[in-house]
């Protein structure tokens, strides 16, 4: 991952996904093989064409997670004695970009020909308190933070407060992010929440952790998604709609939230700068932003850093409707984790898969016309890392 311009060495050739929500009758393995099968067929491949299987981590069931580590997918999908390697790549919410970066490295060096990246989890079916407690351990220090009652909604709230303090962003503008995402989710049959939502409804919902109200917060969901990565050269032979990986950069800024010295920016300015440089593209070349949300503030921090708001403050840009369907910078067109649902490490993978889907021209009712270049962001834990990936229909 050098920071100088170069043509793409890897591309995505197939995608698969199941609807997000609460599906008590759909097991993790069933969702996983549905998503994997769809991606393999979408790429026009057969299971024995896949030589590396790369599941990310599952949080709800330790046993299922261990199954993913120990090659269950290879057995379920008929890849025994053909798959070379099954390896888990887990970076929490940052897994989307991290897996793509690892897969890119494998195919670009020839170490692998095709890599199946996959996520499946059932965090949406956890009892409510178990969900709160699970996410009060993901990037929260047992010794230094948990004894004070720290938790994931507080992460979103603490970052929101600092961001609002430094930028003048309002609660209404945070709510406008939720509204924009919901408008996209209304067009997405895989989304958990599709009914219309207004700024007034968000601001009338129950206060959870100032300034975040219930409808500013994501809801945990069951879900699965998958994509297949090949070398740029192979990809152009496999499919008419490859999506090229043009640039990626990232920066780790903390483990515990309290050790981040710039909560209003995180590592996104540095990551964006390096990713654009690697892609040889500028913010004005981007037509589509697929932004890891989980809480509205994180979408705004990323949008500010990406330079895709026409010089406006991100909160004002979103409130003016520019990121909604028909707007000039469509943002997170699957509805994001705030409307499609937060599936654990897969929330970001769904956002990434949506970027591929749009650039492949397979987004149906919500297809964005004429998008050539897209930017994707992700982060894991308590926003420990800031990832920016530039994707394109063109190899560069």
């Amino acid at each position: 991952m050098s920071t100088h311009r170069r043509s793409a060495s890897a591309a995505v050739v197939g995608i698969g996904e199941v609807p997000s929500g609460r599906f008590s009758d759909r097991s993790e393995i069933e969702a996983a093989v549905i998503a994997a099968r769809e991606a393999i067929l979408d790429a026009g491949l057969s299971p024995r064409d896949i030589d590396v299987v790369m599941p990310t981590g599952a949080l709800a069931s330790r046993h299922f997670n261990v199954d993913l580590v120990f090659s269950r997918l290879c057995e379920e999908l008929g890849m025994l004695r053909s798959a070379k390697m099954n390896v888990q790549v887990m970076a929490g919410g940052g897994s989307s970009s991290s897996m793509l970066a690892v897969a890119e490295a494998l195919v670009s060096t020839g170490a692998a020909r095709t890599v199946l990246c996959l996520h499946s989890d059932k965090v949406g079916s956890l009892p409510r308190q178990a969900g709160i407690d699970l996410f009060a351990t993901t990037g929260v220090s047992e010794e230094w933070e948990a004894p004070y009652g720290h938790n994931m909604n507080a992460v979103g709230a603490l970052v929101s407060q600092r961001y609002m303090y430094e930028t003048g962003t309002t609660e209404e503008e945070l709510a406008a992010v939720c509204v924009s995402l919901r408008k996209w989710a209304a067009l997405n049959p895989h989304a958990m929440f599709r009914q219309p939502l207004t700024v007034e409804e968000v601001l009338a919902s129950k206060m959870i952790a100032d300034p975040l109200r219930a409808k500013h917060c994501n809801v945990l969901a069951d879900g699965a998604s998958a994509y297949i990565v090949a070398s740029a050269q192979d990809a152009q032979k496999m499919t008419k709609t490859p999506v090229f990986v043009r640039g990626h950069s990232s920066l780790v800024t903390h483990y515990t939230l309290s050790q981040d010295t710039d909560l209003a920016k995180l590592g996104f300015p540095e990551a964006a700068h390096a990713a654009y440089a690697e892609a040889g593209l500028r913010p004005q070349d981007i037509q589509l932003a697929q932004i890891y949300d989980s809480y509205p503030v994180f979408a705004l921090i990323a949008m500010d850093a990406l330079g895709v708001c026409g010089g406006e403050r991100a909160g004002a840009f979103v409130a003016a409707g520019h990121t909604s369907p028909g707007g000039r910078m469509p943002m997170t067109t699957n509805g994001g984790m705030l409307s499609q649902g937060h599936t654990g490490a897969g929330g970001g993978i769904a956002v990434l898969v949506e970027a591929f889907r749009q650039l492949m021209g397979k987004a149906g009712e919500r297809q964005v016309a004429n998008a050539v270049n897209a930017v994707e962001t992700a982060s894991g834990g308590t926003w420990m890392d800031s990832h920016v990936t530039i994707l394109s229909k063109e190899p560069g």
């Binding site: 010794e143 603490l158 975040l212």
Partner: protein
């Protein structure tokens, strides 16, 4: 020992921090080789990897870097604490930590407000947590807030 909510489990290198807290002293780990302060306490200096580490008394003063009032959705064992105020403190020495803000006006405090350390014994456990209270005059940046 089982307890209703999360408690710190000290490591050999963090134990002096918690022992000091029990005696209502606030201390910061420091590196004797490169003279930097270390937060949170670590086995080796994260700046120069020295293991020649020591402790310094801190006045425990600083400002609120960020703040939230948790009103619902608390982790197990913390429901009876609701509402509670979580803060990230930026100490005058430059290092940051997570804590709670307690006392008058805690729920209406804002980023930039001055704070000073205090100590709170955890009922039923042999643990004292450093917490913070608002410290004296409000900063001019927050003058719009009613007092």
């Amino acid at each position: 020992m089982s307890f209703a909510h999360a408690l710190p489990v000290p490591t050999p290198w963090s134990a002096p921090y918690w022992e000091a807290s029990r005696k209502k002293r606030f201390v910061l780990q420091c590196c004797n080789a490169c003279d930097r302060l270390i937060m949170y306490p670590k086995r080796f200096c994260p700046f120069c990897l020295s293991e020649d580490l020591g402790w310094r008394d801190s006045a425990g003063t600083g400002e609120i870097y960020s703040i939230t009032v948790q009103r619902a959705g608390a982790p197990t064992g913390f429901s009876e604490h609701l509402p509670y105020v979580l803060i990230i403190v930026r100490l005058d020495e430059g290092v940051q930590l997570m804590s709670r803000l307690i006392g008058p006006d805690a729920e209406t405090a804002r980023c930039g407000d001055r704070v000073k350390v205090d100590f709170q014994d955890v009922a039923g456990a042999d643990v004292t947590l450093p917490v913070f209270r608002l410290d004296g005059a409000k900063t001019p940046a927050n003058g719009s807030r009613s007092t």
